[in-house]
């Protein structure tokens, strides 16, 4: 039994199923992070004392990580463009770079941001500023890890599909890319909210 429009687009909507599926998923993720952002707004509005973001968090490190993620968004879209040019080698190079940059982001975050915080006892139970910081960036980091797992699969064993069903594989890369860009966009909002305001 074949599900229609898995690979080819449905004429009247112009979409294939997975593309609609991922956008629906991203809409729900907007509401998930939105719930946390609204928590931030309420907590900060109701707080008698709050910390200055740039004093508690390292703006240089945050800026560096922002560049890393934006660059990884470029490399993932380049990996998709490479596949459209039928260049599997270039696809692997760019996807590999994307994964590498994602790992850099995580390592910097854990080693240079989380660990020093924990050492200084700046943890969720000490003040809501750190509590919401850890939850927002932690959930974001979990999403980065999820993306890395998917991207890693598509770079490695999953890439065999290029030989058997190139069109569906291209769709998968596009869908994975959309998710990755979304993770980037969340950070684009997280960074100023937590570090700069």
């Amino acid at each position: 039994m074949q599900i229609p429009y898995t690979v080819k687009v449905r004429p009247d909507t112009g979409l294939y199923n997975a593309k609609l599926g991922i956008w629906l998923f991203l809409a729900s993720e907007v509401m998930l992070f939105g719930g946390l952002f609204s928590a931030y707004i309420l907590l900060r509005s109701g707080a008698t004392s709050w910390f200055v973001g740039s004093e508690e968090l390292s703006v240089p490190i945050g800026t560096f990580n922002t560049f890393v993620l934006i660059l990884s968004s470029v490399t993932v879209v380049m990996s998709w463009a490479s596949l459209r040019m039928n260049d599997l080698k270039k696809y692997k190079m760019y996807m590999g770079l994307t994964i590498l940059l994602g790992l850099v982001f995580l390592v910097v975050k854990v080693l240079f941001e989380y660990m020093p915080k924990i050492e200084h006892h700046h943890i969720p139970s000490s003040h809501n500023f750190f509590a919401i910081y850890f939850v927002l960036t932690g959930l974001h980091a979990l999403h980065v890890i999820g993306g890395l797992i998917v991207n890693g699969y598509l770079w490695g064993p999953g890439s065999k599909m290029w030989d058997t069903d190139p069109e569906q594989f291209l769709n998968r890369i596009e869908v994975a890319g959309l998710y990755w860009h979304f993770v980037d966009i969340i950070w684009i909002f997280l960074f100023p909210t937590l570090y700069l305001l």
């Binding site: 729900s28 509401m31 939850v135």
Partner: protein, 576 residues
């Protein structure tokens, strides 16, 4: 066509199946077991309310050494009754069960858009259910802070609360994946000719419901994470400073807000109540049109109404929070949106009523339940009005009036619609009819008992008896005149339970030796009844993919005189 029967081992065919029909039945059966369990919980609570401090028969020994329901036990049972009925019973049956089974059939599709994700959805729901059941075996019992889990009580509560939160994460994940599947399926897999305005109203109901689940659940997931952080990591998202527990100051950083939990919770929980009702309205529309042999009156209005309703449901949530001190401007805002949202509900209910006018009504069991739904939902809706108005809500908030209101909508409302659906689609699933005699006894008995259980609650609520009281109000002087209703309601509840045995017996008897029927015994027009053979084969819904030429409810459009049939199925070609 490949015969899959020979190829699939038992565990692939019936346990880890990707076939929407198997998954739909898995959801339905699991949900019905949970509904039964949730009902048992409330029977025990109601026994305690009628006869406070007395030993509960049959199950007494399980509850406590003395055989009575303890106050903590009462609170826990209250939480789990609500949680199980909503998240493990009604929604999985209405959406997971009916939605999964019927939707692809009504769309002329071979399956859902994402069959593997569908399977994962079911098992995620199952795991969530296991968590909820497992919490009964914790030393201090399940969660007990009200199904609404308000902070700070829920944050300082026993381990049962943590298990509840983890269970919810699995249930929410299941819902989110399911809603993505439903929306993508409706948009992408409609068969040729099935345009938006030719969709059965059942499909529209499921479609809007899926959007509510997709966009409203995530903030609750966020809130659950925050509450878990408060409980496990000692944060103070919902904890203010200066809290005393047991006479001692609570050592927390403070600075948090219990209202934050309430906002995030109700942002989901209000759309959730529309999730509870919309699939039922969809089922009722199918059954009514089929049994009046007339098209649905005002199809376009109902479709626009349900879309408008879905959108409005996101901006009324704080009518559950009128007493939290939000100020008159915001109260007026929520009161206004709440009044506005009653309009589409009234349009839908009126259209269903008007659809009866001039019809050749067949009073079979599904139709009886569908007809019963109409006034019951009407009462539920009308009793919501004084709750939606901020001033009257001051008196009625958190009283039995609220319990009466929402139970009227869900119990003789949605659950009647679900019964209608089970009796209606049973022949499609099994190829056999359910027994009409047993069905009618089930209906009339349930109808009388439902009203017996829930109508006195309005009286008790207006008298001022609060919710969640272990003794049912006995310690309050103002409750005295209306306390005698407790025993009456308990008797009615036991009666309600008694009449469900006719339904359960009917299911088994009909499965074993029910009257065999053709593929379209109700002579219906929608595509689900065009699927052959009956019962449907694994992985194959239609021998020939249907094409649609007309709207969903073309009953009695062509005269239907001697010998002519009084309905034109959607897929019947114009030339036939």
């Amino acid at each position: 066509m490949v015969d899959h029967d020979q190829e699939e081992p038992f565990w692939r065919k019936y346990i880890f199946s990707v076939d929407h029909k198997v998954i739909g039945l898995q959801y339905a059966i699991t949900a019905m077991l949970f509904l039964f369990f949730g009902f048992c919980l409330i029977l025990i609570m109601r026994w305690n309310l009628a006869y406070p401090g007395e030993v509960v028969p049959i199950v007494g020994k399980l509850l406590s050494e003395e055989g009575m329901l303890t106050p903590d036990g009462y609170n826990s049972f209250g939480v789990m009754h609500g949680t199980i009925m909503i998240f493990l019973g009604v929604v999985p049956l209405a959406v997971g069960g009916f939605g999964n089974y019927v939707l692809p059939l009504q769309l002329g599709a071979p399956d859902m858009a994402f069959p593997k994700i569908n399977m994962f959805s079911f098992w995620s729901f199952f795991v969530g259910g296991i968590f909820m059941l497992a919490s009964f075996f914790l030393p201090q019992g399940p969660a007990s802070s009200g199904w609404t889990m308000y902070a700070p009580l829920s944050v300082i509560a026993t381990t049962g609360e943590t298990v509840w939160l983890f269970g919810m994460v699995f249930l929410i994940t299941s819902s989110l994946l399911g809603s993505i599947n439903f929306i993508a399926t409706v948009i992408q897999l409609r068969t040729k000719g099935l345009t938006w305005m030719r969709l059965p109203f059942f499909v529209w109901g499921q479609f809007v419901t899926a959007f509510l689940l997709l966009l409203a659940f995530p903030p609750l997931e966020a809130a659950a994470v925050l509450q878990l952080m408060d409980r496990l990591a000692g944060s103070s998202f919902f904890m203010t400073s200066g809290l005393y527990v047991g006479g001692e100051v609570l050592e927390v950083a403070g600075g948090g807000s219990p209202l934050l939990w309430q906002h995030l919770f109700w942002f989901l929980a209000h759309p959730e109540v529309y999730v509870l009702i919309l699939p039922g309205m969809g089922i009722v529309a199918e059954v009514i049109t089929n049994n009046t042999r007339k098209p649905l009156w005002g199809y376009r209005s109902i479709v626009y109404s349900v879309i408008f309703l879905g959108f409005m449901s996101f901006v009324v949530w704080a009518h559950h929070m009128f007493l939290t001190g939000m100020g008159t401007k915001m109260a007026a805002f929520f009161q206004t949106t709440t009044m506005i949202i009653s309009i589409p509900s009234v349009i839908i209910l009126s259209a269903l009523f008007i659809s009866l006018w001039g019809g050749s009504i067949r009073f079979n069991t599904p139709m009886l339940f569908a007809l019963g739904f109409l006034p019951m939902f009407g009462i539920g809706g009308l009793t919501g009005l004084p709750l939606g108005l901020a001033s009257s809500d001051i008196h009625l908030h958190d009283t039995y009036y609220v319990i009466g209101h929402f139970h009227y909508v869900v119990a003789p409302g949605t659950i009647f619609a679900l019964f209608a659906g089970i009796y209606y689609w049973f022949p499609k699933v099994t190829g056999k009819r359910m027994n009409e005699g047993l069905g009618k006894i089930h209906f009339f008995g349930s109808f009388i008992c439902m009203n017996g259980v829930f109508s006195p609650m309005f009286i008790q609520g207006l008298a001022g008896i609060s919710r969640r009281l272990y003794d049912g109000g006995a310690s309050y002087l103002h409750a005295e005149p209306v306390l005698q209703w407790n025993e009456f309601m308990t008797m009615a509840a036991l009666g309600l339970g008694f009449f469900q045995f006719f339904f359960i017996a009917n299911l088994f008897i009909s499965l074993a030796k029910g009257e065999k029927v053709s593929s379209n015994p109700w002579k219906a027009t929608t595509l689900d009844w065009a699927a052959t053979p009956t019962p449907p084969l694994p992985h194959v819904n239609f021998e020939n993919i249907p094409e649609v030429y007309r709207g969903p409810y073309e009953y009695s459009m062509n005269g239907g005189g001697n010998g002519q049939k009084d309905f034109t199925p959607q897929h019947e070609s114009v030339k036939d």
